[in-house]
Amino acid sequence: MRDGSYKVKGVGVSQGIAIGKAFVVRRGPVSIPYYTLWSDEAIEEECRKFEEAVKLVDEDLAGIKKNLRNDLKEYDSLLDAYRLMLRDRIIYDGTLELIREKQLNALWALSLTFEKARKIFDGNENTSIADRVYDIGAVIDRLMRKLSGSQDDIFSPIKERSILVTYDLSPSDAAQLPLEKVMAFVLDIGGKTSHTAIIARSLNIPAVMATGQGSKKIQTGDLLIVDGTSGEVLVNPSEDEIQHYVELQLKLDTYLRDIARKASLPAVTRDGVRVVVEANIELLEEIVAARDNGAEGIGLFRTEFGFMNREEMPTEEELFQEYRQLAELMAPGEVIIRTLDVGSDKLSAWFPHVYEPNPALGLRSIRFCLKYPEIIKTQMRAILRAGAVAKNVRMMFPLVSGVGELRTVKAILREVKDELRRARVQFDDEMPIGIMIEVPSAVAIADLLAKEVDFFSVGTNDLIQYAIAIDRQNEHVAHLFEALHPGILRMLHITVREAHKVGIPVSVCGEMAGEPFYVPVLLGLGFDKLSMNPQSIPRVKNLISRSFKKHCESFVREILRKDTPEDIRHLLMKTIEEQFPEEYHFFHSGFLV
């Protein structure tokens, strides 16, 4: 490293590498003068000043909204929100009241108003509320800058393409930026879900956030390398480092383009094993993304949405129309429709809510449907009918924990088929049925269950949660949620083995399937299909087509002998590094976090 070269570490929130000059925007807080107004005229003047500032900021926001780039159109309504906040009772009326009644100057009054608004939010235990205070803060900040007469067009000095380094960027700031000149964002605060991260991803600009002190350390004109995957920012790097990253950047672009181009091809391992890659979706519209990314079918269609926020049960006809369209749009690819997977709490409009101390272990999913069989009967009829056209629909039951339960479901299915037959309604009499494997007891009796159905699909999220007894939403134990736990790997192994003994296909439709780094594990375990969110498909397909099934199998034999997740993770990283050096190179830093 040469003199003055150092690293700043943050969180990578938008993939990609940028190399360029820093443009640092330092915006300290507005300094607020404190004084009281001594005459009615002064008070009226101050009120007028405040109203004028509100009007100007409102016009600014309207202007930004009008000139919003097409790819940021979703921020349109956020700008509306900002404009509403400007005239909000608490902010607008509240500030004017303080000026009039307490005779405070406008900036002082406004800062008190903000404190008041913040307190209302702080009283709330919900942590996600921080974002909401943030938006109010962004509006008040604009208003304060307007009132104090400070220059608000801070981005106009950006003359050449640069990397923007600043403390924070509100969406209205971002919308005002000359984005064509921004190569990357480096922000002191924020995270994966903040507005700017979402903007950066939708514009395909690398971004690193939460650097802490980045905007204080980095100077305008410093040469920066921003790695939006690892979250590293190299400041004034050496010639060698620059060379390295220039090549890396080029390679990453080529790599991702290449992968995207090949995504429509089937995934076949180098030793000739075909693995079916499918998409998990829950809305009909998502089928477009699924197909564009190369999904060969829908491995999981979640049906909950069609049942929620309604005044009454959806009719068979409504469900049928939805499922039929889905089947037609995806034909000849298969569509696996999962029956309703919720508890009564989500269907409050037409079911009495039962108090359950532990809903994850309560009356939900297939159990709920068996208590109220009319629901699942309606759904079964709609699914069976949707399969009549292209014979590409399959029916899947969630949360099955035992054979008795499954046989009850199958008896209902037979009943429903008889009714359809008697009514001379067309349906797919041969429709394959399957179950989700997501309850540990189902794994233990996988041999028995396998004789009863045509396919298995493993829901890894719930299986891990139930098997390790971890609530992933609980921050105190979330770190113990571990897909590579030897106990989980053994369960996956048993499930595949028992399915294959009787010759039925088995897939994974949990999040594990959508993480490309797990491909060697899932392939080696012998899964026939992987179903995932559409965006993951190109990278997963790529890794499959570059693998040898045989190598993956011996890899899995090896990890099944290991004692701890750490050992397994270590071996997995090693294998990825050896077999898919680019994949490792570009993405390993993101996998570890």
Binding site: A81, L84, R89, R132, M308, N309
Partner: protein, 95 residues
Amino acid sequence: MEDGNNHKVEKEFLVMNKQGIHARVAAQIVDLVRRFNADVWLVKGERRASAKDILDVLTLACGYGSKVLVAAEGPEAQEAVEALGTLFRKRFGEV
């Protein structure tokens, strides 16, 4: 005003978008409700917010899965609740 004109309507909805009622969503709600001749309230648990006031709506802190009671009163109460219901059902246009 005649008695029959001043309706009271209540209906419960679920917040189904992953991010809950954040600023953009709240703006949609306020914008929609202001078009109707009715007082509209959102009630969550013990708390009650005017649906025409964006900060009030935001302070309810409705995350994913929260249950919100919409209570409306006025000549267009029914229409307002129905319109809001559609917005909830469409998940405010989000995932």
